[in-house]
């Protein structure tokens, strides 16, 4: 039983300690005061508080009284194996050692012996929830016992100490946390969220409200996954993130999140697991920066780069970029492969500028190098050149448009280029040129008002005007002065009618004479239908015009002959009718004469232009119609005496009348009689025309007394031939037959 004074003393110690604790908030001060008061109360030399450090299973001398310097805050006791401290914590009971020298249960740390400690009591201190905090120890230099009251006092004292320690630790932690939170809360650019172990939001700090949209009061108490996207929630991302944070301490949280209004925000941050010192999970801190703008910009840039890449990949033209210094390609699109017939890999290998130059046709190389030099100095340059494809040796025409790309410092750092394959266009142009220069027409191009812009070599060759001299109005000089007004007025109308067509004479420089040309032009229109220019040809129609006019003459001549012939037939029928005794007689005579006329027409119609009937042909045709009796007829004269066409009909009719009479009454009507036809050609005077002299001589004819006058034949010979042929004729009824001579001038050719 403790004495009253002892009891009072213990009460006093506890009460003083309670007062001290209420007035102080520093744990170390409180623990040291606790040691001082307990040492005083129990009249021992030393007292100390040992705090368990589970990280290495030791106990730190956290506070104490009576000890040499270097003990409090430094010395540690082992909490494993044979220590009295470990035993006391394990038993959760005070452990008393009366004399270290006779104690065989425990090992003691050396600093106790250094302080000549002989007896000691270990009393465990528990925090609320029976979590061991450490030990309260009192040590004495003398061997002594500790009574029941003293032990009870120590137990009570340790029981008060536990909650006091707990409260102070909490206060300290809160103060630190408060300071930190204040700092954190000022960082408005960050989302900062503290959650408890169930991931419920307990603090909504920093820029959380501005960035995510929920106010502090709305957010606190909500699960943290409210600001994850629906997709992430559906896939369990929030839980996975927490699991990772628990496992490794932190988990990256770099993803799209969702604002209160449903819009998206990209947070770049992490989730940190917060633990109590003993390792138990306290909750999570989520911290993240709003990088939406940066992400969007990067995405837009990536998209733009991707579009540019697709654009380049799809282009039929080669797009490339080369370094302005080394001239090496840095970028080359796939169109290169189609045009050059080699892979981009091969093209980019090694000194790709040198290799590229080697592909260019040698004579084009200087032009290309010069162009690239100009681009280097800042110009945009378009140039054409040829390459020889290594795969098949074929030539391709390319048109490059190269341009400088300036770096940050404004100097040309890259050269960009677009290469277009002109080969087909060139070939088409060449074909067109060959066609335009090969056709016999004179080809030209002009503006709507007749201003010539281009003329083909044929034009210059024919007119003697150079292409340059023909430009604008120059061409007009080639046209006949009389035709120029017509050509000009055709141009004046052309824009309206959309047709230019005129026949006019153009001077041939070689012949020094004008020839007729048909000049036509068609308008070339743009998509809106306006005339851009005219493409024209001038075709030589001189010969056609000659032929046409000659044909007109021939047709007129034929018409004339036919109508004349009909007039002759009409007259002949009249004359025959007057001379005929009856219709039968008329039919014989008239039929006969028509046949003779028909024979002449047959001869005439066989003739080509410029041809003439010869006299022997005429005689042969007439005699052939006589049928037989050819042995009585002799023909003698030069062949090939050409007769004027206009003379033939009358001459043939006269000869026909002579022959008819000979058959009916003369030499060819009697056996033994003969007919001699002879002719010669002679000139009356040295420079006069040639004359044809014809003699028709019948002989051996027994002239009948009642010989009828050969009326029609004689009229033709004596009157028609002189009238129409300027002929000199003689007709004599001789004693043994008719003798007739006919002479007339021949055409001069």
């Amino acid at each position: 039983m403790a004495s009253l004074s002892e009891s009072t003393k213990y009460q006093r110690v506890l009460s003083d300690f309670g007062d001290f604790v209420l007035d102080h908030e520093d744990l170390d001060e409180i623990l040291n005061e606790a040691c001082r008061l307990v040492a005083l109360g129990l009249e021992v030399d030393f007292a100390k508080v040992i705090e368990i450090d589970r990280s290495d299973d030791t106990g730190l001398v956290r506070a104490g009284i009576g000890w040499h310097p270097g003990v409090v805050g430094h010395e540690r006791v082992s909490l494993s194996g044979q220590s009295s401290e470990a035993f006391a914590i394990e038993k959760a009971e005070p452990v008393i050692t009366r004399d270290i020298a006779s104690e065989d249960r425990f090992d003691f740390p050396p600093f106790l012996r250094d302080h000549n400690v002989v007896a000691l009591v270990n009393v465990p201190i528990f925090l609320p929830g029976r979590k061991p905090f450490g030990l309260l120890q009192v040590d004495s230099r003398r061997s002594r016992d500790f009574g029941e009251h003293e032990i009870e006092f120590l137990k009570t004292y340790a029981m008060i100490l536990g909650p006091a320690i707990d409260r102070l630790r909490t206060v300290a932690a809160l103060r630190i946390a408060d300071d930190r939170l204040q700092l954190i809360d000022n960082a408005r650019a960050y989302v900062m969220v503290v959650c408890d172990a169930d991931d419920r939001i307990t603090a909504w700090l920093g820029g959380s409200e501005e960035i995510l949209g929920w106010s502090r009061s709305e957010a606190v108490g909500q699960p943290a996954e409210i600001f994850f996207t629906d997709e992430d929630r559906a896939q369990g991302v929030p839980a996975m993130e927490l699991a990772r944070a628990r496992e490794t301490g932190t988990a990256a949280d770099v993803r799209w999140h969702q604002r209160r209004d449903g819009s998206r925000v990209f947070l770049d941050g992490q989730t940190i697991a917060i633990r109590h010192p003993d390792g138990d999970l306290r909750g999570y801190l989520k911290i993240g920066q709003d990088v939406t703008e940066r992400i969007r910009t990067e995405a837009a840039l990536r998209e733009s780069e991707e579009r540019l890449r697709q654009f380049g990949e799809a282009s039929q033209d080669i797009l490339w970029m080369r370094d302005a210094q080394s001239l090496q390609w840095q970028y080359l699109t796939p169109a290169f492969e189609a045009i050059y017939g080699m892979s981009r890999g091969d093209a980019l290998d090694g000194d790709n500028f040198g290799n590229w130059l080697d592909l260019i046709v040698a004579e084009d190389r200087p032009r290309v190098l010069e162009a690239i030099e100009r681009v280097r100095s800042g110009e945009h340059v378009t140039f054409d050149y040829r390459i020889r494809r290594p795969s098949d040796g074929s030539i391709r025409w390319l048109r490059n448009t190269d341009f400088p790309l300036a770096g940050c410092d404004g100097a040309v750092s890259l050269i960009g280029g677009v290469g277009h394959d002109l080969t087909e266009l060139r070939e088409a142009e060449l074909r067109l040129q060959v066609l335009m220069e090969g056709i016999p027409q004179l080809v030209w191009r002009a503006m709507g008002d007749g201003q010539l812009t281009w003329s083909s070599p044929q034009w210059s060759e024919y007119t003697g005007l150079s292409e340059e001299a023909s430009r604008a109005d120059g061409w007009l000089k080639a046209f006949h002065p009389e035709d120029r007004a017509a050509v000009r007025s055709e141009w004046a109308d052309a824009a309206e009618t959309g047709i230019f067509e005129v026949e006019a004479r153009i001077c041939s420089s070689a012949r020094r004479s004008y020839r007729w040309f048909q000049t036509r032009a068609s308008p070339v229109r743009n998509q809106a239908g306006s005339i851009i220019e005219w493409l024209g040809t001038s075709t030589d129609i001189h010969q056609i015009r000659d032929l046409q006019s000659r044909q007109q003459v021939l047709v007129a001549e034929l018409q004339h002959r036919t109508r004349n012939l009909m007039a002759v037939v009409l007259s002949t029928s009249e004359k025959t009718a007057r001379a005929s005794s009856d219709l039968a007689d008329f039919r014989d005579r008239f039929g006969d004469r028509l046949e003779a006329l028909a024979r002449v027409q047959a001869l005439l119609s066989r003739l080509g232009e410029q041809q003439r009937i010869t006299f022997d042909e005429l005689i042969d045709a007439e005699l052939a119609a006589l049928e037989g009796a050819s042995d009585q007829v002799s023909v003698d004269g030069p062949k090939g005496v050409r007769l004027r066409s206009s003379t033939i009909q009358t001459l043939a009719m006269a000869l026909h009348e002579l022959a008819t009479n000979a058959v009916k009454y003369g030499a060819l009507s009697q056996a033994g009689a003969t007919l001699a036809i002879s002719w010669t050609v002679a000139r009356a005077t040295a420079d006069g025309p040639h004359w044809l002299h014809i003699e028709w001589r019948e002989s051996g004819v027994a002239m009948p007394t009642g010989h009828p006058t050969p009326g029609h034949g004689r009229e033709l010979i004596e009157r028609a031939l002189p009238y129409q042929l300027d002929a000199r004729t003689r007709f004599v009824l001789g004693p043994d037959g008719v003798v007739c001579s006919i002479a007339f001038p021949l055409p001069s050719d």
């Binding site: 007129a556 018409q559 004339h560 002959r561 036919t562 109508r563 004349n564 009909m566 007039a567 002759v568 037939v569 009409l570 007259s571 002949t572 009249e574 004359k575 206009s646 009358t650 033709l716 009157r719 028609a720 009238y723 129409q724």
Partner: protein, 124 residues
Amino acid sequence: MTDLSLNGRRILVVEDEYLVADELHMELERIGATVIGPVASLADAIAIIAATPHIDGAVLDGNLKGEMVFPAADQLLDRGIPIVFVSGYDALAIPERFRQAPRCDKPVGVRRIIETLKRALELV
């Protein structure tokens, strides 16, 4: 009854086709006309026109052995002498200045030529 409708008229005949000229000649004389010519060439026509002060009318073949009769026609027109063209050609071949002159296209009967001539002489 004898037709003497052209009695006393002096008619020039220029025609290179003898048979036609002869028939025209005979028919004109039959109805009382005096025929000047006929002549078959342009040169003869011009000569006879110049040499003949009094001509009442003329029948002209358009084409005389390849020469057109128009120079002779001009001289007759200048003297106000009515003419009738007898032509194997179409109207187109006749120059504009002779448009007023009556024309008979070959083939044509002599009687029609004379009827046309009478109209030109304003006898009908």
